[in-house]
């Protein structure tokens, strides 16, 4: 085996290097040579190639994502403590508390090995949050699959769900929300996004930087193995002689137990003040952690790579640098504190080793058994990668698509047709109950979960004495984004914002996971750019900053890209979780109001999708000022005790909202269609800016006066009614005798609705044998 050292590289400029196999373009390779003044060593090439990949460098998206920082109110965002650029942004949530949250994708690994792909997706995002100094407190999982009845969905979905549960449950984090959407475009390219929230005191916020000459770099957690380095094996096979290295797995296996120990050990070293800087190891492993730490610090760093504890002794230095082995972290520790640091790791059975030192060289140097294999300016690896202005063009088919409105599709009119449509819609895969999935997730662990699925938002208490809490919701209707990426992304933002607000929390910050096709396709790139522009403008208008996020490109099978899917997460703050508004309506006689305007807006709707298999037209109108007003009213209603229940209106329209409220409560209602609407429009239009709220009779005047004064249309559409002689309450037989009655149109029993709503997923997935 020959080691490609810095000296050797300088002396042998002629050696061919497999940069193209590593995904670098010729001009990118030339730039590396120019930066170094020589050809890179194979280890340097490995580092640059992975750090300059789309995934790590954001080279296609960077120019667009800048808007999130640039479009901000004068004087900046008051609630933002740490902005974009760090592992995750940090938001001030009051009383000295700070919260950090972020979403990340693990789409491709989850297709190859659903269980492990999804599991390690959760593990990765949890370490991101941990690296900010926060205790992870909850997770959520926005998911997209191919058609629910497709054979491959039967393979992928149960594995993904078991993987998220297997990791999250074992780690001890409650899963408090997510999404499950089925669409043919995701067949062969499911989306598995994972979100984590963490909480900390203001003074505990930590950043990833290596400062202080003489400080030590500690690598701790799992040992380094050959995980996820399929690509770099090219290099290894160049450097190794004939027999070559062992075959390297592209799939990583998660060890949630190790992650749990890593969390406890990390929080203990943070809280005892033993750490100067901290960084998680995710994609690009040690390459990423060392170059980012060094780049963020002011000096340089030296690493002894042979000190890294290995699980597989046959790894080459290039592979050690690239390995994506899970459950590892890096910390910067002063020499004075190193013994105490090591003792805490030992207490938690976590292996740790000093692999490097901060110096004032301004360079990142790495030695392997005494030989110099890397000598680079760290910023050029971590932060000064290539940036592209990719060509963009508006999709050719967009005009035709937008002209083909769903509003002209035939709608049901008779009572019988309406009832049949209702039952079909409620049982359709996207609208049906997701309990089959969410019942596999522990939502109780840590004892602070106030709201979780199937509520509009997940909500957790962060301070037991004051009751302060945070809420989070994720949303995206990819069909709306397909029809109009700018408006569609704002609709996703609006929906997540609304979900948080209806439960009484004040929306405060945004994170996102932008799942798109290939950035090299100008139409995809245009769509992406419009989505980012829409999100940045929308956030500015709503007054909530984007604190971070993730871009996942190349989501396509053969030549078909997925529906553009910018998943938007909104975080809200509530000063006292006791006042949260749940979705189940309360006792008999309470009044059901629809807030907002209903228009004929069926394009991109679930109704058009399920009943007509149709996609075309313009998505519903966006009115963010109206969304903000709706939020104010819901929050005021919660604070002043006017609302007993609230539920937002989104996929499946008012019909779906009412069914979910009734089924959650096990109590029926008498409903009527507002005078100016046709029944189908009332039930299934997806006009934005609406919510259904429930008001006690004693509060009705006060509530409607408030709405009138603030210009919010409020229409009484029904009354909670448990029916004559029917038993009330939440007992298991609560459905007995309960009906939803749409005056003059139809009556449907809750039992029948429940059967339709709850039967679909078990019928599809129960029989599956999952490895």
């Amino acid at each position: 085996m020959t080691l490609d050292t810095v000296t050797h590289a300088a002396e042998h400029p002629e050696d061919d290097q497999p940069f193209a196999e590593l995904g670098l373009r010729p001009e990118e390779y030339d730039r590396i040579c120019e930066i170094l003044g020589r050809r890179p060593t194979s280890s340097e090439l490995a580092m640059y190639s992975v750090m300059w990949s789309e995934h790590c460098s954001y080279k296609s998206s960077k120019v667009h994502l800048r808007q999130f920082g640039n479009k901000q109110p004068e004087g900046g965002w008051p609630q933002l403590m740490v902005g974009i650029g760090e592992n995750a942004g940090v938001v001030d949530v009051g009383d000295g508390w700070a919260v950090t949250f972020k979403i990340e994708s693990h789409n491709h690994p989850s297709f190859i090995e659903p269980y492990q792909g999804a599991a390690t997706g959760v593990g990765g995002i949890v370490r991101d949050i941990l690296s900010m100094g926060a205790r992870p407190i909850a997770i959520a999982d926005p998911l997209r699959f191919g058609p629910a009845d497709a054979p491959d969905t039967k393979r992928v979905l149960p594995g993904v769900v078991a993987g998220i549960g297997g990791y999250g449950n074992c780690l001890g984090l409650p899963t408090i929300g997510g999404e499950t959407v089925f669409d043919a475009s995701y067949a062969g390219n499911p989306l598995v996004n994972a979100l984590c929230i963490g909480a900390m005191r203001h003074e505990d916020v930590h950043l990833a930087s290596a400062r202080g000459v003489g400080n030590l770099i500690v690598l701790y957690g799992a040992r380094t193995g050959g995980d996820g380095i399929g690509g770099v094996s090219v290099l290894a096979s160049e450097t190794f002689d004939a027999e070559g290295p062992a075959k390297r797995p592209a799939v990583q296996v998660g060890d949630p137990f190790m992650e749990k120990l890593l969390i406890e050990a990390t929080l203990e070293v943070l809280h005892t003040g033993l750490v100067e800087g901290i960084q998680d190891l995710g994609g690009a492993g040690i390459s990423c952690a060392t170059s980012e730490l060094a780049s963020n610090g002011e000096g340089g760093m030296h690493v002894w790579l042979d000190r890294v504890l290995l699980r597989d002794s046959s790894l080459s230095p290039e592979e050690i640098l690239m390995s994506e082995s899970q459950e590892r972290m890096c910390a910067v520790v002063t020499p004075d504190n190193i013994d105490a640091f090591m003792a805490i790791c030992a207490k938690w059975d976590v292996e740790a080793v000093v692999i490097g030192e901060v110096n004032d060289s301004g360079r990142l140097t790495i030695d392997y058994h005494g030989e110099r294999i890397v000598d680079v300016p760290p910023r050029t690896v971590a932060h000064e990668g290539p940036v592209y202005q990719r060509p963009m063009s508006r999709p050719m088919d967009l005009d035709a698509l937008q002209a083909d409105s769903s509003d002209v599709l035939p709608r049901p009119t008779t009572g019988a047709e309406l009832k049949k449509t209702l039952l079909t819609m409620v049982a359709s895969a996207n609208l049906a109950s997701k309990a089959w999935i969410t019942d596999q997730y522990d939502r109780y662990v840590l004892g602070n979960t106030v709201l979780a699925q199937p509520e509009d938002t997940g909500m957790v208490r962060i301070d037991e004495s004051s009751g302060r809490g945070v809420a989070v919701s994720t949303d995206c209707n990819g069909r709306f984004v397909r029809l109009d990426p700018y408006a569609g992304t704002q609709l996703a933002l609006a929906e997540a914002y609304r979900n948080v607000a209806v439960s009484g929390a004040r929306p405060t910050a945004v994170s996102n996971c932008l799942n798109f096709g290939s950035p090299e396709d100008p139409e995809v790139m245009w769509t992406f750019a419009e989505a980012v522009r829409g999100l940045a403008d929308g956030c500015l208008e709503l007054g909530i900053p984007v604190t971070g996020g993730n871009v996942s490109f190349y989501n396509s099978t053969a030549d078909t890209a997925i529906l553009p899917t910018p998943v938007i997460a909104v975080l809200g703050v509530i000063d006292d979780v006791e006042r949260r508004t749940p979705m189940a309506w309360g006792p008999d006689g309470e009044l059901i109001y629809l807030l907002g305007d209903t228009r004929a807006e069926f394009s991109g709707s679930e109704w058009a999708h399920v009943m007509h298999g149709h996609l075309g037209g313009q998505p519903p109108r966006v009115d963010l000022a109206r969304e903000a007003l709706l939020a104010d009213i819901c929050i005021a209603g919660s604070r002043d005790g006017m609302l007993t229940a609230a539920h937002d209106v989104a996929d499946g329209g008012v019909a779906q909202t009412l069914v979910e409220m009734a089924l959650r409560a096990g109590v029926g209602a008498r409903l009527w269609v507002p005078d100016d609407l046709d029944a189908a429009m009332f039930l299934w239009s997806e006009s934005a800016g609406r919510a259904v709220v429930v008001v006690a009779r004693s509060e009705e005047m006060r509530f409607t006066d408030m709405c009138a004064a603030r210009g919010m249309p409020a229409t009484r559409i029904g009354v909670v009614d448990s029916g004559l002689g029917a038993e009330l309450g939440f007992t298991s037989s609560g459905d007995a005798g309960q009906v939803l009655d749409l005056s003059g149109k139809f009556t449907v029993s809750l039992a029948q609705l429940r059967e339709a709503y709850e039967g679909t997923l078990p019928d599809l997935f129960d029989s599956g044998f999952s490895r």
Partner: protein, 81 residues
């Protein structure tokens, strides 16, 4: 009756947290000399007929497609009387 035995183990290069947990327990119990522990799955499939009647290729494809995931696991299969 014949028995088809399929042993499924994680590939050697793949992390085996289960084996590691057993390993750790052995160390804590004071057992020495243990180099490595791997934990896998064992399937015992009882089929009608005798050994010669078993459709081995069908069984292999089951082992490969249903009982293991070739991306991370290897299997061995044998047929016993």
């Amino acid at each position: 009756m014949a028995r088809v035995i399929v042993d499924v183990m994680l590939k050697p290069e793949i992390l085996d947290p289960q084996g590691r947990a057993v390993s750790g327990a052995l160390t804590r119990l004071g057992i020495t000399g243990v180099n490595d522990v791997r934990q896998g799955k064992r399937f015992e499939i009882t089929v009608d007929g005798n050994v010669a009647d078993v459709d081995e290729s069908a069984m292999r494809s089951i082992a490969e497609e249903l009982l293991s995931n070739p991306v991370i696991e290897d299997y061995t299969l044998r047929i016993e009387p």
